[in-house]
Each structure stands twice: as C-alpha cells, then as structure tokens.
Symmetry: C2
Subunit: 622 residues, 2 copies
C-alpha cells in the first residue's frame, strides 16, 4: 500500500521549507472572491500568468498530482487505457464531426504558418474517435475505453474564481466504444461508480444529477456537482426523494388543471374567442394590471431563432424556402437557420437548452425585434398563437391544459380572451420546455422541489452514434458484417476538483486538507532549527520518510507565530512542534495537532513516528 | 527501491494483452524512414493524428512516462522544483522580452476571442521569469531552480521522422536564478551532471558538445547529442582528444601561414596592389581557372543583411543614418536592419550562426542581389575589401594572415592582386567566422577534426541577464540594495529522448528496450492460454507483481509464431514461454530469453520468479 497515490520519485518525501518555493501571502488578492482562489494564492500554491491562466507552484502541484493520481487509479481499475494525444489537433477532425461550426467562440482556433486550421483542444471526441477509426477492425477489440489526462483550453470571456473557471485546465477525458447498448450501459455505470469513488477519496460531497448533454448530443447523462454559491449551474432537488437534475434538464410533475381553468369536457362551455382593445399594453405585467388578472392566465408567445436545426421541418408552416445543407462534405444535414414561435404559460420561462434539444439545434436565442415584427407581421408585444401561419408553433405542455387563456392577437393594441387550446389553435409540436423553479412538484414523488447553485466537476454520458457515424467508424462482427460502434464520453476537471476540495475543507485560517490530497501529510515545526531541536526534527522526518509519509520541515529562521500561521494557511494535516522545553522533560515530548482541531496533544518522542504513521495511514484509508 | 521510476498506480503491474490496446502492424508505414518511427508504429506505441502530431498509445505511454520519471527524479535530486505553468501564455510576456519579434514563424501565435495575443509555448523563459519577478523579494530565495515537464509546440514546416521532429512535444525545461556567477556556475554544472545521469539511465550514448546559444543569447552552453544519420546538427569531433562542438560553434587551430604566402615581415616584399582585367569572371571557380591558382589565395567578400543588431555600430562606415530602436517599450534597443561586408578566405564558408553571435543579431542572411549592387556600387561578383567605404567590414581570422591575396576591385570586370591585409585594407572588426570542416586541426591538441551528424536531446546554457534585465526582475541583497539576478536555462526533449533509445537499441525484428525504460519488463507467452499452462502463467505473473515487476501476459488466441513476432517487435526485455510439454517434465520448466540474445534457457518453474526478479533488478541497477 505504501507509495500508493503518489508519483513516486526520489527526494519526494522530505522537503525543507527553505529549499522549496512557497511564497505565502498575508494579504488577499483583490480579485479573489471565493475561498479556494484566495487560499490557493495565499498559501503559495498558485500564481496568475494572465486572466484565467495560472501557474501551479510546487506546493499546489503536489496536491494537483494527487487528485490526478486518484483519477488515474480509478480509471485503470475499471480497465480504461491511458493514451496521450496532442493538445493542438487538426481542425479537419472538427469539420468531419460538424463541431467546427457548432462549438462557438469558446473553442480556440489557430492557423499555422502553412494556413492549416488547428484547434487547442477543448475536448477530444474527434481526436480519439479518429484514432479508433484507424485502429479498430474487429468486434474482439470492443469494448474499448480510452482516456487521457491532458491540457484543455476554453476561451472563456470572463474567466474568474481562480482555477474554478480558468481558460486552460487539465481534464481527464475518457471515451468508450461498444458493440451494443448493454455494453455501453455497463461502462457508463462503471464510470458512474468510479466517479463516486474518486470524489469520495478526494473528500468531496458531490451531488450526481440528471443532465442535459447540450451540444454534445446523446441520451443518458449524469453530472457530478458540488454545491457552490458561485456555481454556474442551477440544480433542482426534491425535498422528499432523491430526484436531482440540472435545471436545464429538470422536469416536474404536470400540474393539475388550475382551479380557475376548466376541464377539457367543459371546453365547450368557454365563450368564443374575442378580441379586446389593449392600447399600449405590451408586457405581461402591463396586461395583468390592465385586465386585473394573473400571469398564469396568459399564453406568452416568443419568437426564437435556431441555428443548425437537424429536426425535419418539411411541411411545417413558414419554412417553405428552407432546405437542409451541409457545412462541409462530412457534416450532418441541417437547416443553417430557422425561426420558431414558442408558446408558454405567462408566468413561466422557456428553458433554451430544452428547446434546443427538442429542435435538435446547436443554438437557440430570442429573435431580434426586427425579425419578430417581420415574421409575425405585428408590432412587438402582440404575438400570439391564434392565426399564426408564418412560423412553426411549439407549445410547452402547460399550454395544452389552458382552456380560457389570453394572448396577443397579431394586431396592434389587440389581445384575444377566451382562447382554448385545440379549439382556437393547434401547435405544430408540443414539448416540455419550461424552466422548473423552486416550489414545483417533483415528477417522481410530488414532493417540493428546491434550487441550489452548483459547479460541475464531472460529467458522464452516452453519445450513441453521434461521432462514430459522422466520422465513419466501423468494425466487423463475428460474421464479417460491418457495424458502427456506440460511444460514451466521460470527463472530470482536475483543477476544479482540487479547488472544490478547498471550498469544502477550510476555515478562516486556511485550508484543512483531507489526507488523500494534502501536499504534505505532516509539517514539522522546530521552534528554533538548531542544536537538539534540529537533531530531533531531522530524525523524526527521516523516520516518517521510512514509512513514506510526506514531510515539510519548516527550517526557516522565523518566529514561531509566523510558522504556525503559514502551517494553518497551507493546511497540512498534522503539525508537529518540536521545542527545547518539551525535549528537556524527563520524558521528552513533541506537540501534535490535527489541522482543524482546536487542541494539541503531547506525544512521547520515542513513540511519535509510530503514532503519526498510524494517524496518517488511518486517514488514507489503507 | 521498489516502485522507483514508475508512476505508481493500481492495476499497473499486470496487463493482459486482450485487455489493452496494442495494434501491432506487420507492414511499415510509408513515411517512416528511420527505425524509431517505423518501430513505434509497428509495435503499437504510436499513431499519427496529423503531420507532426502523434498519439501515444498505452504501450508507448508507459515508456514515455518512464523517461519522464527519470528526468523528474534527477531534477528533484539536484533541488530543482517542479511547477506547472499553462501551455498557452500571453503574448505580452514575449513582447516584454523582445522575442515576439525575433522568434520567427515557428512560434505558434493565437488571437483569442477578445483579440488578445497568445502563444502556444515553444519554451518558457518568459513565463517562468514573469513568475519569479512577481515572487522574488530577497537574496535568501536564491538560488532558485524551477522546472516543468509540459507540452511545447513548434510550428515546423516539414515535421518528419515521427516524434524525433514533431510539432507538438513534451519538454522538460528548467530555469535557474542566481545572485552571482559562482552560483550560476554551480547549478549549470549540477545540471550537466544530471543530464549525463539521465541519458545513461535511459541507456543512451550521448555526446556533450560545446554549442552556440543561438537566438537565446548568453554565454556557456552545452548540447547533448546522439549520433544520427538524419541528425539536424553537424558535430565536429577530434580524433585525438575530447574536443566536441556543434559546427555552429566549432573553432579550429589557426593555420600556420600557408607555404605560398609570406610572413608579416615579408609583407613589404609584396608588390603593390595591382588591378587586373577579369572580363566576365564572377565566381571563385572561374577566377581560379582564369588565374590558374587556388581558392585559398582569394579573399572572398560577401554582403550580409542582419536583423535586430544589438552591437554598437556608431562610427562604423555606412551606418550614418541608422539608429537603434525598440520594437516595444520593454524590448531591448537594436538596429532593426543593418548590412555588413564579410571577408573570408576563398576556400572557406562563413558560419552564419557565428556571424549573428558576433553582431548580436537575431538573424543574418545573404543580402539580395539588388542590395549588393546598391551597397557596393559594383556589379555582382566584384565586391572586395579594398576601398570599401559604404559598409562595416568584418574579416574572418583567416584573412588576417593573407599577405598576397586576390580580391574583387569594386569595379566591373576587375580584380586586385597582391592584396595585403593591414596594408591595403583594415577591417572594422575581425572575428572567428569560418565553418570548421573535416580535416581541420583541433584547437586544443592539433589533432584531426572529423564530422558526425547528430540530434540534440538536451541543451543547458547560461543566459546571464538577458531575460532578467529585459523583464525587470530584481531582488534585495543583505544590505537592502537592489540587484538583477543571473539566469540559466536547461531543456530536454522527452519524445526525442525516447525515440533515440529505440534508434540505439533495436534489430531487424524490433525494439530491444533497456530495462529502465521498457514498457513492461517481462512478457509471459502461454503457448495456449488454458488449463495448467494458463494456471502457471497467471501464478508467475502474480509472483512477479509481488516484486513490482511489470508483466504483459499474452492471453490471445493466436499462433505462437504471431505472439513471438509481436514480442520481438515490442522489445520487452524478458520473454517467458510457458508450454504444456515443458510443464509435463519431471522437473517442470519454462523458457526464458533476453530480447536481443539468440538463445533461451530453461528455468525451473519453482525458481523462475526469483530468478527473473534477480535478472530484472540487476538491469535496473537497484
């Protein structure tokens, strides 16, 4: 068990503080608003090269490598095979998959001196799939799971929060290839289990949530989130059951028909559609005030522009002139641009990720005002589903229960009342498009849903044939028949995982490392590094090295207070203080304190190494 | 000692052939002209993503990581501290150092989405120096040696020879900072010693040579070369002593005055300068034929264009209008462009690297014909040092011994004879500029010099103040005085080192790995992986794992011949064949063969693991 988790190299186990480079800071960097950012800088783990670009210093790199080693161990344990592709990859591969067009500006594109297109990899589905395409011949080579732990780049517009949202980072990305769904499912679940072990070993509490697979395409997908006040993601959780989903994917129980609407059988009792004059009333709020009613009585109609739509639109309203095209010979057939009207209950919001998934579009966004006016032939604020012929209408499921609604009439200063779904308009498509919010009922148990902010540390998902088909990967089965393999993809951000450990394990004085990812496991602080104190500190360090415990020995000529403050900041789990007075006792002792605990205890010098050994390995779980 | 040199992770020690991904090839890739390129592909270590961009497959990555670990160990052993900067770094830093202008097109420049300039690092003097600038305060922090093992990119126009000359590669690059020359010298020599150990441990025969530090600037410099028929470098070696230098830097013993020239005291005996008519004679060859004499009698005069000249040219001929400028506020003062006449004996070549070093220029090249005509006011082919006022004249040392030379007369169809150095012309500067060739006498012992082609694996050199001054790094000494630190830089190409091991250790059948960098140390080949043969193969593998010996077990359902061929190709040091007949003997045995040796021997099954353990660790040198 010794040496596990570490990159075993000589001169790794004992480090003198004066021989390394740990520039601790008393002041807090101005732009560091979260604990991990602040503490990684203050403890001398990290420095900034430019916005979103950071240098790990020796102390930071030790912890970084431990997270990396844990990830590597768990990947190897499930049979994933490590490879090392390049970081700069040919743009051609991205054109083949179609993502050259769809990845957006966050992908860093480079032209080389010969004019060739290259990409500084943000992810590697294409590179790994091209490798597998060249090497795969027979079903006997499958399943095959390949991974790398390598540099990635995403050209964030506003990088912030230190390495939590940097531009360059290290990602473990794995890709699996399979002959059938059962095999993909097995690897997908093995990955899910490995991810749970990885985060547990790092001391992290993660929330696995159902996720949208976004521009990636595919079906099953799970994200591993940590709660964070500055999280990029909104998680929807149930108070009563285990339901957890990214808001982009979250659904809720279809609500019972609202008390003041009517059941379908009563629809015939609703008066006929009636236009009313609503001068200068353009927003839902104005309309509510004007009609003295609530937003949930309205059918809100929004016009969206979608890009690279793969959904078949033939025969749908208003798309007569549209034709599917390919951006390159290998790219999939898509409508480069199409517009849609989306109807939703007035108190709800459209979830654009859901909408993009329904339309199989790379991107959706609200249409520009001028486009809205052109497409609806009405002034802004008066769009509505009734009589709309110029656009395909997509209705959220909530709209399908509305039996006496209010909506824009496609005419200036006019709305319709008594609008009945199915009677007065029929959408082209209905789908779950609404953004779930706190208080909605859980789709599993009906319990109350609530929100948390979270940061994504890992993501696993089934891609199906998306890349293997577009990039023409195939293998021969036992009968010599050609097939396309199924694929899965699995990522973990190493930097973000490390920063999240600090977010979860710190106090006002500094970091409190879990033993598994601590840069050193023991710090020895001699009150003055001279004479018998030095001799004992050196001996103790050497004894600990024998059991491969990693020791930082603070040999600086500094006041004890300075050394203690730095030790707290760096968060090394066990602090051993060696002082002259304690050594002069009849039974000489040293002070031992677990970082994060308030009190120290005295250990007999003769037994100190053995006891520390026990304490450290207990926490390592070996 | 166990576990040394390896990235210790679970599931590292035993691998079943069918569980990994080793796509061996019988055919040789068409573009693979050298052994390492051919064998890395054939043995399934490597695949190509695009020209100069390669993917290490699992087998290749194991050996790669071992080379990396050896480098890391030796760096740590001399107190160098590992950090991890980003691969993409801000262009600003390169503008500060002045290399944004001088690095040429091999540096991959990127504009990000916000229009900022970035570089995919080809080296990291700037990034590391900027880090040190921010963190360095006191002399007590020095000396400081920092290194990384990280991705580098050079945009080679013609990448070839596999990873020997790829575009993206992994480099170990170290940078040291010092208060004085003695400290820099100490680290420089410790690095030189570490490099010798690294290459020795990898099983490589390297030739350390004196080197020019090129665009890097600086003074002392040593390159670590391996002999290679396709080497980029020409090495000059002495048959009689240890002298070894890159041809770019090589000097030789100044020759005695040639038998047919005169001693200085006889110069007065040389007739006066005399113009002769040489119609349509433009080359040295034509002139030799015309005058029936040898090239070494001529003083050849060449016109060079130099860029970013830092040498002070004030008062030199023909540069009246030139002024030093900065390309950016932080860049050093240089003449952006200047022209020079260079005189050298007619049978010799000017070494442009030496010339650039003498002129402190970023780049020198022969001037265009039109420039030559304009600057010499003479037709092409008639340039000469006598009466040349329009350009600074730089003479090679060989010219200073010429007492009766022939040279162009700066007039059409005219040459001078009886030209005497010092009498008829005085150069602005004299310097050693000649390219040394085979047969020249050694500058140390007078022995005969000869040439070899070589590839550079590593390079160490003293940079002096080049970056620390331009990037304004400083520290306070014990008296509170501000100083600029001295700097050194030290690189090793990991990919190239690995490929060179294969170049030095292979035969017609495949690779013959040195134990230290072998992907596995033992391959077990069961003739048929079933029954007692399987049982013994599994047991033997498990026994070897106990002593941390890395085992590939060929469990494929293939003919023995196929397995033997692949084992030879992969070059795993010890091959153990387990067969039914050998197990059925009274004393069951297995066949053991060292790759590269012709014969196998039989080991008793009961003693096989212990004996293999002894053999493997003997070669590991533990």
């Amino acid at each position: 068990m010794l040496g596990k988790d570490v990159f075993y190299v000589k001169d790794y186990y004992i480090m003198l503080f004066t021989q390394t480079f740990i520039p601790t800071l008393r002041e807090v960097p101005a732009d560091a608003v979260i604990a991990s950012h602040r503490l990684m800088f203050r403890s001398g783990m990290l420095r900034k090269l430019a916005n979103g670009l950071f240098v790990y210093l020796p102390l930071g790199l030790r912890s970084f490598r431990k997270v990396e080693a844990i990830v590597r161990e768990e990947m190897n344990a499930i049979g994933a095979l490590e490879i090392k592709p390049t970081v700069v990859v040919p743009g051609e591969l991205w054109k083949e998959s179609g993502r050259w067009e769809t990845m957006g500006d966050a992908m860093l594109r480079v032209k080389n001196r010969l004019g060739g297109d290259f990409v500084v990899s943000p992810t590697a589905e294409e590179a790994v799939t091209s490798l597998v395409r060249d090497a795969l011949a027979s079903y006997r080579q499958l399943p095959l799971t390949i991974y790398q732990i390598n540099t990635k780049y995403r050209d964030e517009i506003r990088p912030r929060y230190g390495v939590m949202r940097g531009r360059e980072f290290i990602m473990k990305d794995a890709y699996s290839y399979h002959t059938d769904e059962a095999s993909l499912d097995e690897t997908y679940h093995a990955m899910g289990a490995a991810y749970r072990r990885i985060f547990k070993r790092c001391g992290l509490s993660v929330i696995p949530v159902q996720a949208d697979s976004g521009a990636m395409g595919g079906s099953d997908s799970e994200e591993f989130m940590v709660e964070s006040a500055i999280g990029d993601n909104t998680l929807i959780l149930c108070r009563d059951c285990d339901y957890a989903a990214n808001v982009e994917k979250a659904s809720c129980k279809p609500e019972a028909v609202l008390a003041d609407s009517l059941s379908p059988t009563q629809a015939s009792a609703v008066p006929a559609l009636e236009p009313i004059h609503t001068p200068a009333v353009k927003t839902i709020e104005q309309l509510c005030a004007f009609l003295k009613t609530d937003a949930h009585k309205f059918i809100k109609t929004l016009i969206y522009r979608a890009r690279n739509v793969a959904l078949d639109l033939s025969g749908s309203p208003g798309v007569g002139g549209l034709a599917k095209r390919k951006s390159s010979p290998e790219a999939p057939l898509v409508y480069p641009e199409a517009f849609f009207a989306v109807a939703i209950r007035g108190d709800l919001e459209v979830n654009e990720v859901k909408l993009a998934a329904v339309l199989k579009a790379s991107e959706v966004s609200l249409a520009a005002d001028a486009e809205v006016v052109r497409l609806t032939a009405a002034p802004l604020g008066f769009a509505g589903p009734v009589g709309l012929k110029s656009l395909p209408l997509v209705a959220d499921l909530t709209v399908t229960t509305m039996q006496d609604g209010i909506t824009g009439a496609l005419v200036a200063d006019t709305h319709y009342v008594h609008v009945v779904y199915g009677r007065d308009f029929v959408p082209w498509l209905t789908a779950d498009l609404r953004t779930v919010v706190s208080g909605d009922p859980c789709s599993l148990c009906g319990g109350e849903l609530y929100e948390k902010k979270g940061n994504e540390l890992g993501h696993i998902f089934k891609l199906g044939y998306k890349y293997t088909r577009s990039m023409q990967v195939s293998y021969l089965d036992e009968n010599g028949q050609t097939h396309i393999p199924l694929m899965g993809t699995y990522g973990i951000g190493i930097d973000r995982t490390l920063a999240s450990v600090i977010e979860e394990h710190h106090d006002d004085e500094g970091i409190i490392w879990p033993m598994t990812v601590a840069p050193y496991q023991v710090i020895i602080i001699p009150i003055t590094y001279a004479g018998p104190v030095k001799a004992l500190a050196d001996t103790l360090a050497a004894d600990l090295e024998q059991s491969r415990i990693e020791v930082l020995l603070d040999d600086r000529n500094e006041r004890p207070g300075v050394k203690f403050k730095d030790a707290d900041l760096m968060g090394i789990p066990y602090r051993v203080v060696v002082g002259e007075k304690n050594l002069a006792r009849d039974t000489p002792v040293v002070e031992v304190k677990r970082r994060g605990e308030a009190t120290f205890r005295l250990l007999e010098v003769a037994k100190a190494a053995a006891e520390l050994n026990r304490l450290v390995y207990r926490e390592l779980g070996c």
